[in-house]
Symmetry: C2
Subunit: 365 residues, 2 copies
Amino acid sequence: MTFHRAYNFCAGPATIPEVVLERVREELLNWKGRGSSFMEISHRSTDFLKLVFEPARENLKKLLNIPEDYHILFITTGTSHQFAMVPLNFLNLKPHKSADYLHTGVWSGKAINEAKRYGNINVALSTENNQFTKMCSPNELKLDSNASYLHYTPNETIHGFQFHTIPETHNVPIIADMSSEILSRPIEVSRYGMIYAGTQKNIGPSGLTIAIIHKNMAGFANALTPTLYQYQTYIDSGSLYHTPNTFGIYMAGCIFEWLLNLGGISEIAKINQRKSQKLYDAIDHSSFYRNPVQKEFRSQMNVIYYLPTVELDQLFVKEAQNNHLINLKGHKSIGGIRASIYNAMPEKGVDVLIEFMQEFERKYG
Amino acid sequence: MTFHRAYNFCAGPATIPEVVLERVREELLNWKGRGSSFMEISHRSTDFLKLVFEPARENLKKLLNIPEDYHILFITTGTSHQFAMVPLNFLNLKPHKSADYLHTGVWSGKAINEAKRYGNINVALSTENNQFTKMCSPNELKLDSNASYLHYTPNETIHGFQFHTIPETHNVPIIADMSSEILSRPIEVSRYGMIYAGTQKNIGPSGLTIAIIHKNMAGFANALTPTLYQYQTYIDSGSLYHTPNTFGIYMAGCIFEWLLNLGGISEIAKINQRKSQKLYDAIDHSSFYRNPVQKEFRSQMNVIYYLPTVELDQLFVKEAQNNHLINLKGHKSIGGIRASIYNAMPEKGVDVLIEFMQEFERKYG
């Protein structure tokens, strides 16, 4: 079969490494010579546990250098379920039953709205007045030392805004929604109470969430929390209280192996650094393209830019698609162009995009 | 690639039709000529909505003849989440805030345990004293006309016990966990307040739940129900409040098309009837194999049987596996053999199993 695989800049569900898709295709009907697909075996079977589940967990541990006092959980839900799970599990950590949230974009905003249903939520910082493109001044940060936890979203996919340092909370546990940046760069796991991430950006298809949680964080859930909304349930059962998304776990495992073969996080981080630097340079060196985000907070994963007019934005998306550069349309709430360049976007894809941008500018600039 | 595809009797995640897996393999890297996989496109894209999501919903509607006053929801969770969602959403339907549950096996038992955390749960019937193999006498059924709903599990996978008629509740809405029998035979949807089913038996891989809910049932959720535990959220957003398990929905759609091509539910029901009848006949005509379930309640999906000794059970499983008949081991709680013969198990697979059983009996009987 010959075909032209496109460079797919979709924000999520996002592109998956071609070699991983080829492996899936190869194994699809006869996985490990078992005469069945990996989708068709029990999550309780030795085959699943020893050849899929445990290696996936161990490889993630290796990739992120996760300390022994953290649990790695596989949760069969979309990421948005976490917006309720976090307050239900952690508000009780301290007597005030309150939490600090940083509001730096659409996703942290959704987390705040859901958390407010369950307790006193202090929006310690909001960049909404800056259209989520610039950080506030440090004296606008209002942290509460009595907070049970602080929640933030290191990378905001819609506005292309990313923290490059971890907020200092003075012993208040930090919960981070790393859906759109996990595995893209080294992280110091021990700085976090919990990290969670949906799989549909850097870990494969959608429908699964991974949580990395410190041992001391679990066991405080609100009494009426549904069993499958309690992190403790996943800890006690090794994430196998019920039938999980086995295909999602298999795919995550394939991605982890791909990353390890590539040289691990330090290696992909270098590639991601180069990819985003090139693209921002191309934007900054042109007066045709414009990125609105404060330079120190630009996202390495989601690069936002605008052309001089809305009509040109639209034409750009269309002509790019004709050149096998697909899903470049910006989020409907802010328009423009969004190039999501997660781990699986090859550096070549960014090079081709930049060439196309330059050609487009020559033609219409 | 040549290989011997096994007949896979796994209780779930279960076998998937070979032609469906072949289609997935074919489309995996270049779906509809788009230069990307169906896993790599946005759930908000026209491609996903028009070519995957809406056809899946419409085809399910057609297959089950679902009336207009029902919503069809795709929920990205395992089925066990429903055990909390059901009481959280429906206990408030009537002032007594109580519900009736039928306890006919492990799965209905799990639903009861979770529901008890949220309200007054009346176990209207329990067959536990009959080892979940026989129905109680009709006068043991204690229905409450003030119940907000009645919950039951038409097919219990572990004990191979299945209702072949719908309980009469006199206007109390019926909620049914049809995970292990949906699409296996015609159902009268209008008799139910809600039907729910995990996908991992008759609809594809695990990690997705489908709910079919009457319009009048939604909107009564307990005030603190997480947003993604409220059926109303899925109704209001057309099941797209957040990124769903897009691969699961794609696979469900493939299965629905496969069933329609086969002639729909009436056709698969005939095949299922033949398959289970043959297998029970083979058991009943032998004094070597024994099924403990009351005949009127035998499952068409999960056929349980025992050999004369535990050692023979084990040897049977092992020799069957050597003959490409895999995953026949009974659930650890009750031992013996379990042949799960869901829709995707070809009739030929049952024929081969019966031949193997007869040969095994000749050898060891």
